[in-house]
C-alpha cells in the first residue's frame, strides 16, 4: 500500500466504504488507499476549517494515521464516513487545546490559486468567510463546517459531535447568526466608506 500511494488507486465504482473497510480488514492494503482517495478532499477541507490552513496538513495526516491504526477496531464498517469525521473533529480539538491560539487563516494573496470567476473579488470574499468562520466558537464552527461543507443532516452532525440533535441545531443557528453579523457588518462598513 505504502509504495503505491503516489498513484491514486482506482476505486471501484460499485464498492462502498464498507466494502473497502472489509477488504482492508481482510488484508487488502490497497483498499485503504481507495478510502483515502475517496475521502481526502473533504477531510482536508474539514481540517482547513477546524485547524486553519497552516495546520491542516498536520491534522490531515494525523487523522488518516489514526484511522489506519484504529480501523481494525471499527465494528460497523457502514459507519466509516461518520467515524472518520469523528476522528477529524476529535483530533482537531486536541490540537487546538495544545496550541491554545487562534487558528491560522491566510490572507487572500496567500491562497495557492484563486477560485474561478472574478479571482480578486472572489478570493477576498472567501477569505472573509474563512476569517469569520475562524472567529466562531469551536462547537459552532464544527457544526457549520459539517452542515455546509460536509452536507450532513443534523442527526448525523449530532452523532459525529456526540450532541443532541437540538443542540446541533442551536449551535448552527447561533453560528449562522454570528456569521451573518460579521460578514454583513463588514459590508455595511464598506458601504458607508466615502
Amino acid at each position: 500500500m505504502i509504495h503505491a500511494m503516489t498513484v491514486p488507486a482506482k476505486p471501484s465504482a460499485a464498492a462502498t466504504d464498507a466494502d473497502e473497510v472489509r477488504a482492508f480488514l481482510a488484508g487488502d492494503e490497497s483498499a485503504f488507499e481507495r478510502l483515502v482517495d475517496r475521502h481526502q478532499r473533504r477531510i482536508l477541507h474539514l481540517c482547513q476549517r477546524l485547524a486553519g490552513v497552516n495546520d491542516a496538513n498536520d491534522l490531515f495526516q494525523d487523522v488518516f494515521l489514526q484511522c489506519y491504526r484504529a480501523l481494525p477496531q471499527l465494528r460497523a464498517p457502514e459507519a466509516f464516513h461518520g467515524w472518520l469525521l469523528q476522528i477529524t473533529v476529535r483530533r482537531a480539538r486536541r490540537r487546538a487545546q495544545a496550541r491554545r491560539g487562534p487558528i491560522g487563516v491566510p490572507e487572500p494573496e496567500q491562497f495557492t490559486a484563486p477560485p474561478e470567476g472574478d479571482p480578486l473579488e472572489l478570493a477576498d470574499e472567501v477569505a472573509r468567510l474563512r476569517k469569520a468562520l475562524a472567529r466562531l466558537p469551536p462547537r459552532q464552527r464544527e457544526v457549520i463546517a459539517l452542515r455546509h461543507d460536509q452536507e450532513l443532516s443534523f442527526a448525523e452532525i449530532a452523532a459525529v459531535l456526540d450532541l443532541r440533535e437540538d443542540a446541533a441545531r442551536a449551535n448552527h443557528y447561533q453560528g449562522l447568526k454570528r456569521l451573518r453579523r460579521e460578514l454583513l457588518g463588514d459590508d455595511d462598513r464598506e458601504a458607508t466608506r466615502p
Binding site: 500500500m1 505504502i2 509504495h3 500511494m5 503516489t6 483515502v36 481526502q40 478532499r41 473533504r42 482536508l44 477541507h45 482547513q48 490552513v53 497552516n54 495546520d55 491542516a56 496538513n57 498536520d58 490531515f60 495526516q61 494525523d62 488518516f64 494515521l65 489506519y68 496550541r99 491560539g101 491560522g104 491562497f111 495557492t112 490559486a113 477560485p115 470567476g117 472572489l122 470574499e125 472567501v126 468567510l129 474563512r130 452542515r147 455546509h148 461543507d149 441545531r169 442551536a170 448552527h172 443557528y173 449562522l176 447568526k177 456569521l179 451573518r180 460578514l183 454583513l184
Partner: protein, 168 residues
C-alpha cells in the same frame, strides 16, 4: 444552503449570500491536496506524523521580559568591570600630579641592571670581572641606554638631571 427550521429570523438574502460563499469556497486546491497526500504517504510509511514544510507558528516570546533580562545582564557586567578597571588603570589626574610612575620605572631599571651585574658575576666566576658595579648601576651604561630619551631635549622630565647626577 438548506433552511434551518429554528432560524426563524433568518434573512433570505443573507442566507443566499452565505450559501453562495460556502459554495464558492471549494476547499483545498489540487496542489494543497497533493502536498497533503505526499505527507500522508510518508507518514504512513514511517507510521508516524511527518513535519510539514510550514513550521507551526511559534508562540511570541515575551519581548519585554527578554529586554529586561538583557538590560540587567549589561548592568551587572558594568558593575563588575568598572571597579576592576579603576584598580588597574590610575586616573589621569593622579598620573599628571606626580611623576611617580615614570620615576619608579627608571629606578626599577637601575635595580634590574644592578642585579644583572651581580648574577653574571656569580654564574661565570672564571671570566674576567665585568665592568659592572655590583652595588651601583654603571652610569655610562645608563647614559647610553637613556641616550634616545635625552635626545628629546626639552621633553625630558624634570627629575632627569637629579637622577643622572645621583648615578654618577
Amino acid at each position: 444552503m438548506n433552511r434551518d427550521p429554528l432560524d426563524h429570523d433568518a434573512d433570505p438574502d443573507a442566507d443566499g449570500r452565505l450559501a453562495a460563499l460556502f459554495a464558492r469556497d471549494r476547499g483545498p486546491e489540487p496542489q494543497e491536496l497533493a502536498a497533503a497526500r505526499l505527507l500522508l504517504k510518508r507518514a504512513l510509511a514511517r507510521r508516524q506524523p511527518q513535519p510539514t514544510l510550514l513550521p507551526a507558528p511559534r508562540r511570541a516570546r515575551p519581548r519585554v521580559l527578554a529586554f529586561l533580562a538583557q538590560a540587567a545582564g549589561f548592568a551587572l557586567l558594568i558593575a563588575l568591570l568598572v571597579p576592576t578597571l579603576r584598580r588597574i588603570a590610575p586616573s589621569a589626574a593622579t598620573w599628571n600630579a606626580t611623576n611617580t610612575p615614570r620615576a619608579d620605572l627608571v629606578a626599577s631599571l637601575a635595580d634590574g641592571m644592578r642585579a644583572l651585574g651581580t648574577r653574571v658575576g656569580r654564574l661565570l666566576p672564571g671570566l674576567p670581572p665585568l665592568e659592572l658595579d655590583a652595588t651601583l648601576p654603571n652610569a655610562e651604561t645608563i647614559d647610553r641606554a637613556l641616550a634616545p630619551i635625552r635626545s628629546l631635549g626639552d621633553e625630558l622630565p624634570a627629575w632627569w638631571p637629579s637622577l643622572h647626577s645621583d648615578a654618577r
